[in-house]
Symmetry: D2
Subunit: 364 residues, 4 copies
C-alpha cells in the first residue's frame, strides 16, 4: 500500500496536518555518502515559491532518524522525518462532508468508512511528496556515482513549450545540467512565460495542468523485465503514485499510435563502438528493457482540483447536493513542484532495479 520496491523499498507515512510526515528507505546499499545539504537543496526545489504556488510556507526541516552513521548509509533502514509546521487545522472540521470535486475527499470517506483524517487532504496530501524528495535525494546521489542522471522539466504548460528530449537526444545531457542548477525546471528561458500563464489562470480563480518530461541518461542496457516488471511498468506505477498524474507515455508515446513502423522503429547503429539507435521514439526501452539510450517519458498533470470558483458538489454526510466555495491556500499549478518529485521517485525505483541486476553492493 504505502511501500514500493523489491530489493530497495520506500515506505511513506504522514498526513498534511498531523505531527509529521516521513519515509523509510530500506535496502539502500551501505557506504553511500549522505549529503544533508543536498537533501535540503532538493527539498527547496519542491517548496512553494513566488506567485505560482500556494502561500503555505514550510521549511521542511527534515531529520534523519536512522540508517546513517558518520555521514554514510549503514545498510539499515533510513527513516527521515519532516515535522509539520504552519498547519491551520481549524479550517477543516466545519467543511467536512463537502467533497471537493476531483479530490480524494469522497473516495477516502468511502474507503476508510468515515475514519479518514480529513484535514488538508490527510494522507492524500501533496505534502507527503516532501518525504519522497528527501529519500530520493539519497538515491539520486547514489545513481550519480554510477553515471546515471535524471532530469524532469515542464514540457508544456499554458501553451508554452520547452525543448523536447525525445526528439532532441543530443540536448539531454546539457538540459539535465541546466535543470539541476535552477529551481524553475525548464531548459529554455521560458520561466516568465509559464509564470505569466499560471498567474493568468490564478487571477481567473482557476488552475491549470501541464505535461512534464523526464529524461534518464547513463542507464545501462538490460534493466527491466519482459512482462510484469517492464521498465515502463515499474516507472509508471511509481509515477502514478504522485497526486495529479493522469497519464504517462514513453518516447513518442501516444504519437506512436499515429505512426507507421517504418518511421516509428528506431534503427540500431554503432557509434564510437557502442550500440545506439538513430532515433529514440521508444524512449530507450525495447521489450520492457533499457537499451542504453536515454530513457524519456512524459507525464500528464491535471489542473489542481482546488480552485476558488464556486463548484457544484455533494455533502456525503447528508447525501445532498451543495455549492462549494473553497478558501485557503492552493497551488494554481503543480507542474513546477512536481518535477523534482518525479525525478526523486524514479531515482528510487532505478536504484532498486540496478540493485536487483547488479547486487546489493553495486550502488556504493
Amino acid at each position: 500500500m504505502n511501500t514500493i520496491g523489491q530489493n530497495i523499498t520506500l515506505t511513506l507515512f504522514g498526513e498534511s496536518h498531523g505531527e509529521a510526515i516521513g519515509a523509510v528507505l530500506d535496502g539502500m546499499t551501505a557506504g553511500i555518502a549522505v549529503d544533508e545539504a543536498f537533501i535540503a537543496e532538493q527539498l527547496s526545489k519542491r517548496r512553494p515559491q513566488g506567485a505560482t504556488d500556494t502561500a503555505r510556507q514550510e521549511q521542511d526541516h527534515f531529520k534523519i532518524v536512522s540508517g546513517v552513521f558518520n555521514g554514510y548509509t549503514t545498510g539499515a533502514p533510513i527513516c527521515i522525518i519532516i515535522p509539520n509546521e504552519n498547519t491551520r487545522s481549524g479550517d477543516y472540521a466545519k467543511t467536512y462532508g463537502l467533497a471537493r470535486p476531483s479530490h480524494a475527499d469522497y473516495t477516502a470517506h468511502v474507503k476508510y468508512s468515515g475514519f479518514e483524517d480529513y484535514r488538508g487532504g490527510g494522507h492524500f496530501s501533496g505534502r507527503i511528496t516532501a518525504a519522497i524528495v528527501a529519500a530520493g535525494a539519497i538515491a539520486i546521489k547514489a545513481l550519480e556515482g554510477k553515471g546515471v542522471r535524471i532530469g524532469t522539466h515542464i514540457l508544456s504548460c499554458g501553451g508554452v513549450r520547452d525543448v523536447d528530449f525525445c526528439t532532441n537526444a543530443e540536448s539531454i545531457e546539457h538540459g539535465i545540467e541546466v535543470l539541476n542548477s535552477k529551481t524553475f525546471p525548464v531548459v529554455n528561458h521560458i520561466e516568465e512565460d509559464i509564470t505569466n500563464a499560471i498567474i493568468g489562470v490564478k487571477n481567473n480563480l482557476d488552475s491549470i495542468g501541464g505535461i512534464v518530461q523526464t529524461a534518464i541518461t547513463g542507464l545501462e542496457a538490460g534493466i527491466g523485465e519482459p512482462w510484469f516488471d517492464s521498465l515502463e511498468g515499474v516507472i509508471a506505477k511509481a509515477v502514478f503514485a504522485i497526486g495529479g498524474v493522469k497519464g504517462i507515455e514513453f518516447g513518442k508515446g501516444f504519437d506512436l499510435a499515429n505512426m507507421t513502423g517504418a518511421t516509428a522503429n528506431d534503427p540500431f547503429c554503432i557509434e564510437n563502438g557502442a550500440v545506439r539507435t538513430r532515433t529514440n521514439n521508444n524512449g530507450g526501452i525495447n521489450g520492457g528493457i533499457s537499451n542504453g539510450m536515454p530513457v524519456v517519458f512524459n507525464t500528464a498533470v491535471k489542473p489542481t482540483p482546488s480552485i476558488s470558483q464556486s463548484q457544484q458538489t455533494i455533502n456525503f454526510l447528508t447525501g445532498k447536493e451543495e455549492t462549494l466555495n473553497l478558501t485557503g491556500r492552493h497551488d494554481p499549478a503543480i507542474v513546477r513542484r512536481i518535477c523534482i518529485v518525479i525525478s526523486s521517485m524514479v531515482a528510487i525505483v532505478l536504484c532498486d532495479m540496478l540493485s536487483i541486476k547488479n547486487g546489493q553492493n553495486y550502488l556504493r
Copy 2:
C-alpha cells in the same frame, strides 16, 4: 518478474517456439464456475483472423492442468497450458544476431548474456498473451458475477475513430455489450474502415499503431490506495506488461494538461440516490481510488515493429551495422488483437483488488 498481483496472482511462462506457453492463476476464490467454452471464445478473439493479422494460425487448445474440479475453481492454483503448434523454428538460427529495430532482440541478448531463446521472440513473444486471455476469462466471469463488466475497443487507428467512452458515459453499458458480441472490437460500424486502413499500410510493407480504450463499469467505490497501489498505478503496471504498449492515460489523460480546473473537475451530484459525477474527466478515479463512476483509460499501441521493408540495424554478434530484410508472418497491426488481452489483464488485477478489500471469498 513473471508474477503480478498480491492476493490473486498471475504467473506467465513459455516461449514462442517452445513446447508450450501457459499461466498459473493463484489465489482465485474457490467455487467459481469455469466455463471452458467461454475461455475458448475469448481465445478466439485474440486469434489472428482475416487480412489484418499474421498468417500464423494456432488453435490455442488449452488444457486446465490444476485448480479446477467438477467445473469449479478449488482455491488451489490454476495452471493453464497451451501447447505450441505450427512453429517454424528453422527460420531463426540463421538470422540470430541481427537486432530487429524496436524489438527486444538486442535488449534480451544483453539481459540474458546470449542465452536467450531467440526463436520468434522467445519469451517476449506476443504469443504468451494467449495465456493472459485464458486466465483472464476466469477472472472476467468472476467479475460479472459481481456486476463488474469490462470492454476494450479500438478508439482510433489509421485516422478512423470509434465512440469515446470518456465523453459518452451513457454509451458505455451498451458499448461493452456490443463489444462482447463481436470479434472485431469496435462499437460503431467501422470495422471495414479500420481494416482498409490496416491493409493499406500492409500493402505498403509497413505497419500501424493505434489507441485502444478500456471501460470498466459496476466497480464499487473505494478500490485502490492513496500512493503506490493507486488504481491507476496498478492498472498501468499490468497494461505496460503487454508488448507494444507505450502510453496510458486515465479519463481525459493528456488532454487534462491543457485544461483548467474549472472545466477539468468532475462535479459530484446525486442521481437516483447514488453519488455520481456529472462529467468523468478523471476516468472514475480520485486520489488513486475508484469513485463509483466507470473507470476509463486509453492505451497507446505502437506500430508492430516487424515490417517487410529493409531496415538499418546492427548484428550484435559481430558489432557491425547491417541491413535487415524480414520475412515470415507478421501482424501489420495489433490493435484488434490487443483489446481482449487488455481486458483480460485488467480483469485479473481487479479481482485481486476486490479480494484485498472484500476478502478471499468475495468473488464467489
Copy 3:
C-alpha cells in the same frame, strides 16, 4: 528486509544508539480504537526490571506520528516513534573490531562492508523490539475485538517449568488471562524460582536461555495456506525475526518425531456442536491451516551472548585473535522480556492473515 506482511505490513527502523527507533504499521483497518495507555502498559512488560534484566533504563516514550485521528486508526500508515534516551555511545568506538561471540558484530561487518552502526548492536539491537510491542498493541486490541487472544509465557528456564498449554488445553483461557495481568509471564507461581535461577547464572558472570510458549485462542478455522504461506511458516518467519530465537515447534513439535501416528494424530470430535480435536498435538494446525483449536507453539531462546566472563574471539579489523572482556549493562536472560515481543509480533501477522481471508474492514 525490514518489512513483513502482505495486506497488513510492519516496517522497522532504528538503532540502539541512534536518535530514535520506530515502526510503520500499514494496512491496518480504519476505525480501530487506539488506546495509548494500553500501548504504554505493553511496553512496560518489555522494559527491564529487577535483578534479572539489564540496568539500562528507558521510559519508552512513544509518539504516534501518523495514522491515528481522534483516537481511531484512519487506515493510513501508523508511524510510531520511540526516542532513544540513556545511551552511552562513548563506550563502543574503542572496542569496535572485537567480535562479540554469537552476536552480529562480525556478520554485520561483513554484510555492510564496515559501514554498520556498531554502537550497542546498532540496528540489530533488541531495543528495536520496543517498536514491535508498540505496534503489536494495536494489533492485539484489534484481535480481541474478534475474540482472538494471545499469551506467551516462560515454559522452562533454569530447570523450572510452567504449565504446558499443549497438553493442558483446558487451562489456556485462564492462563492467558493470568499472563495479561502480570509483568512476569508465568501462569504458575514460579516467578521466584525462575528469578533465582537467573540470578544464579548472573552471579556466575554467565547468562541463560529458555523455552517460551505461545497460545492463541479464538482463531477461526481456515487461516493459512497449503504450501508457502502455511500458518506455521508465516508465524515462524515472524518469530525468527526476534534476536535470540533459534528454534520453533508447533504442538508437540520435536516430540512428535518420537511418536507414532496412533498417538500423535488428533482425533476429531464434536463438542457442543463444534468441531474439535481430543488432543492438540498438532498445535491447532493441519496442512498449514488453522483447525479451530488453540494454536500453540514453543520458541527456543538461546542464552544472551553478552556475558561478563573472558571470551576468545577475533578482531576483524586486524585479523588477529584476542580476548574479550565485556563491560556494560546486559540481560542475563531475555526469556521474560521476549514473551511480550513474541505475542506482539504474532498479533500483527494474525491481523494480516485474517484481513487476507475476510477483507480489509474485517478487524473493525
Copy 4:
C-alpha cells in the same frame, strides 16, 4: 500463497489426482547448464522404494516446458510439468466428508468452502513435492558451481541416530558426499536399523516420525537480514511449506535453552587466515546472517497421519462422529523421502538470497 522468493521465485501447482503437477522457477540466472539426468536422479531419491514407503509407484516423467534452450537456462521462467500416473481416484468420493485426523481434509473443506479437490489430498498431497525436487535440482547445480553444497539426512528415527553435523563439523563435507551417493540418506551404516524400525511400526498398522538434519557448506558470510528476512526465518518458512514438518531448530536449537552463554557462545578464531568459530552451536548464523560456518538445522517430522488402525473422527458433511478405517497405499514414515525435498527447497531459497546480494548473474 503458492509462490515463494523475492528475486528467484518458485510457484507450485497441481493435485494428487489431477492431470499433472508442476512448478515455475522464475528469475533463475541465464546460462546455467540444465542436466535432465541429474533431475531424474534427484527425483528417484524422492520416489517410494522398498518396504518403508507407499506402494504407489510413479515414474515422475517430468517435462521442461519453458525457460531452457540448448541445454541452458534462458533467464525466462522455467516451467516443469510432471504428469500424474497410476491414480486411483475412484476410492475417494465415497469417503469424502470423513476427516482423516491430522490431515488437511477438514481444514481444506473449511478454507475452500467445499470446493476442494479431495482426491488423495488434492493440492495438499506430498506428491507436489516432486515438483520442488525437480526445480531444486537446477538450484542445487547452480549452487555447486559456487561451491555451496547441501545435504539432508535422517538424524534420528525409531531410536536410531546418525552422526550429528552440529557437533561434528569436520564430518560435514564427507557426510554430504556420502549422502549424494546414496538413495537412503544416512551417513553411518544404519539403513537397515532404520528400515527395521519403520517396518516394525508398519506391521503394527502404525506410522512413525523422525528428525532430519540439513547442512549447507561453502555459503559465504553476509547472507540474510537482521529482522524479517533472517536466514533462519527464510529457511524456516520454506521448510514449513513441506507437509509433516512441525518444528525447526538451528544449530543446537532447543538444547540452547538449557545452556549458559559461556558454553553456548561460539568463540571466533582464525584458521588458515579465515574467520571461523570453534564450535557451531548457532548453526552458522549470527544475528540472522550467515557467518561463513556450515549452516546446520534440524527439522521435526511428525508420523504420517495415514495409518491403517481404526481412528475416531467426524464426518464434516453430516456433523457426526464416525470411525475411520483407512485403506489404500501409505508411507509408514516419510523421513527418508523428505530429505531430498528439504535440500531442494533450501537450495532454491539460497539461490534467491545469493542473487539478492550478488546480482542476478552471480549464479552463472
